[in-house]
């Protein structure tokens, strides 16, 4: 023991001292290092927000000034005017987006968690390695190429131009399943589950009452990933739906900003980018705060 205590002391003057300095004891130096990095990495959001409030003459400058000088709400008015020219009311796109994204995200997280539970915690499960192996393999297949065969499948089932085409293919989220399983492996002690099984608890109860609360950081993180990915996705609605009434906000943004009048609509474009980003940031802040809070609630540990 004495030897063990001796050695770290010599290290203490170099790396570890710096590290400790950077962490708990004195958070200030940590902030000094992190805040410049954070600012650097936050540039795009700052740019998107500030551009949305730029008057036209600032938008047309080159190189564009990074920050807005005379903020104005003109761009949002411009966007309102531009959306009036759309084939269906803007609220329709908004409804489609919200409906599709929320339904998909909730089902995705639910299905991934349910499937991950036996894969991670069943004592014996014939075919476990095969199933998990396939899911990991699916992660490695470049999504760009499965898109065409996926279109053929969606078409064959007759889902084209339905909400089903937007929701159902997204439910096979190998990525979410892989992540859930990884969390369950370590974050939920086997002893806890065994104890509940001995007490005669139904598997469904164990899943809801023990497993899910313990992996709350995981599914909150998945909600963030899922929401951002689906909200920004314009590929599925473009390819899987035909009628204008089935399109989502992300597609409406493209037609607003890529149309023949796109140059005249620089302002509307900036406002649109801002409005596309705002919900994702909100969701991020709401769920990430939960990820960080959950520690206190999931205190049940072996």
């Amino acid at each position: 023991m004495a030897v063990l205590v001796q050695r770290p002391q010599t290290v203490d003057f170099s790396v570890s001292k710096v590290l400790r300095f950077l962490r708990k004891q004195t958070p200030a130096p940590s902030y000094l290092f992190l805040i410049p990095m954070a600012v650097f990495s936050m540039l795009p959001i700052v740019y998107v927000i500030s551009t949305a409030f730029k008057p036209l003459e600032e938008l047309l400058l080159f190189p564009p000034p990074f920050l807005v000088r005379r903020p104005t709400l003109d761009n949002f008015q411009d966007l309102l005017l531009a959306t009036n020219a759309l084939a269906v009311p803007f609220t329709r796109y908004l409804f489609n987006s919200i409906f599709v994204v929320l339904t998909t995200v909730l089902l995705q997280v639910m299905m991934c968690s349910m499937c991950a539970y036996p894969l991670s915690k069943a004592r014996v499960l014939p075919g476990r390695n095969f199933i998990f192996g396939m899911i990991v393999a699916a992660l490695m297949f470049a999504p760009q190429v499965t898109r065409i065969p996926q279109y053929l499948v969606v078409q064959k089932i007759g889902l084209i131009d339905t909400y089903g085409a937007l929701i159902l293919p997204a439910l096979a989220w190998s990525y979410g399943l892989f992540m859930m399983k990884q969390f369950m492996d370590n974050a939920v002690p086997n002893e806890l589950i065994e104890a509940a099984r001995v007490d005669g608890a139904h598997e469904w109860t164990i899943f809801w009452k023990i497993v899910m609360p313990n992996v709350a950081p995981a599914w909150n993180t998945l909600l963030i990933f899922g929401f951002i990915q689906l909200w920004n996705d314009s590929f599925s609605p473009l390819v899987f739906t035909r009628s204008e009434a089935m399109k989502t906000v992300s597609v409406a943004m493209i037609s607003l900003t890529n149309g023949p009048a796109a140059i005249a609509r620089q302002g509307a474009q900036a406002a649109a980018a801002f409005l596309m980003t705002a919900p994702t940031i909100t969701v991020f802040l709401l769920r990430q705060a939960k990820v960080i809070q959950t520690m206190a609630h999931s205190g049940i540990k072996s």
Partner: protein, 317 residues
């Protein structure tokens, strides 16, 4: 044999007796597990397995989307390895990219997650680091193109001219030597995505009493704490992060094409997925495109298996 009833299960007609045997016993033991997995697996089979298998089949065909695929055997593969010089460039670029940004991005993600975890302001800081992933496309297209713009109005050129490092604007996005480094730089800036958030969530699941216990057992400094407690406790997340880093590294595409264009000058920013995209959606040679995809799949899958072995999540502590 007297009291037998026919029961429908997902495995077809099965007879159940008073004492379950055979399939019924199997169902009784594992049925619940399979019911839990069924919803996901059904969608997985229809929307992932079927399309992937179709893609593998298409790699042996000539398929231009308009006509039905025509089986041509190994021709696509022969063409790919023996005659396609651009593909060799794509492999070289992708490997350079993956070997550098993969490990560095992985390490940075963990370091930042670990550094901000004990801090009070971690949610806003997490937002800042995750920001490039939220605004991905917008940021790359708009912000970085202006920064690296080849004329004297580009932010970087403007600044370098101002302090006198260079005399005339440097073509960051057109010079062969500069394209890959610029792409890698932007990719690293964007790398605080998935891995970063997953590590941050993983750190939340490490019980704090473990750290207390560690202190009693003679852990003296944060470095030992990370090595002996934190890393083993978040091993499953590390595996996830590393697999995602490999996949992201080898399927680099959007960063490269949005900065350098498709095709890029002298193919200096050409990657495997860019090559595939070129054939799939520009030339509509789907058969050949899927051949590239299958090659990429075998490559990343092999590496993924290697990582699984390295981080094998058996509880050995």
């Amino acid at each position: 044999m007297a009291v037998r009833t026919e029961v429908m299960t997902s495995r077809g007609m099965v007879s159940t007796a008073a004492r379950p045997e055979g399939l019924a016993l199997f169902w009784q033991k594992f049925g619940t597990s399979y019911l839990f997995m069924a919803p996901f697996l059904i969608f997985f089979a229809v929307f992932v397995v079927a399309p992937v298998l179709t893609a593998v089949y298409l790699s042996f065909t000539y398929f231009n989307v308009l006509e039905a695929p025509r089986f041509i055997g190994w021709s696509n593969y022969k063409l790919l390895f023996l005659e396609d010089d651009v593909f060799i460039i794509a492999i070289a670029n992708t490997l350079t990219f993956a070997i550098i940004t993969g490990p560095v991005g992985f390490f940075l993600s963990f370091m930042f997650a670990w550094l901000i975890n004990p801090l009070k302001l971690k949610t806003p800081l997490a937002l800042c680091f995750y920001a490039p992933s939220i605004t991905g496309a917008v940021a790359m297209g708009v912000v970085w193109k202006i920064v690296f713009s080849g004329d004297r109005y580009g932010y970087l050129n403007n600044w370098l001219l101002g302090i006198g490092v260079i005399d005339e604007p440097y073509q960051f996005l057109a010079e062969q030597a500069a394209i890959m480094p610029v792409i890698m730089f932007v990719a690293l800036w964007m790398s605080m995505g998935t891995g970063f958030l997953v590590f941050l969530a993983g750190l939340q699941t490490v019980p704090s009493d473990l750290y207390e216990a560690g202190k009693m057992d003679g852990i003296k400094n944060p470095l030992q704490e990370v090595w002996y407690i934190t890393l083993p406790m978040i091993k499953p997340q590390l595996l996830f992060g590393s697999v995602m880093a490999v996949v992201a590294g080898f399927s680099v595409f959007e960063v490269a094409t949005s900065l350098a264009g498709l095709p890029s000058p002298l193919y200096a920013g050409h990657t495997i997925v860019a090559h595939m995209y070129d054939f799939a959606f520009i030339r509509f040679e789907m058969g050949y495109a899927t051949t590239v995809a299958v090659f990429l799949f075998l490559l990343t899958f092999g590496l993924g298996r290697l990582l699984m072995r390295m981080f094998s999540s058996k509880n050995e502590y």
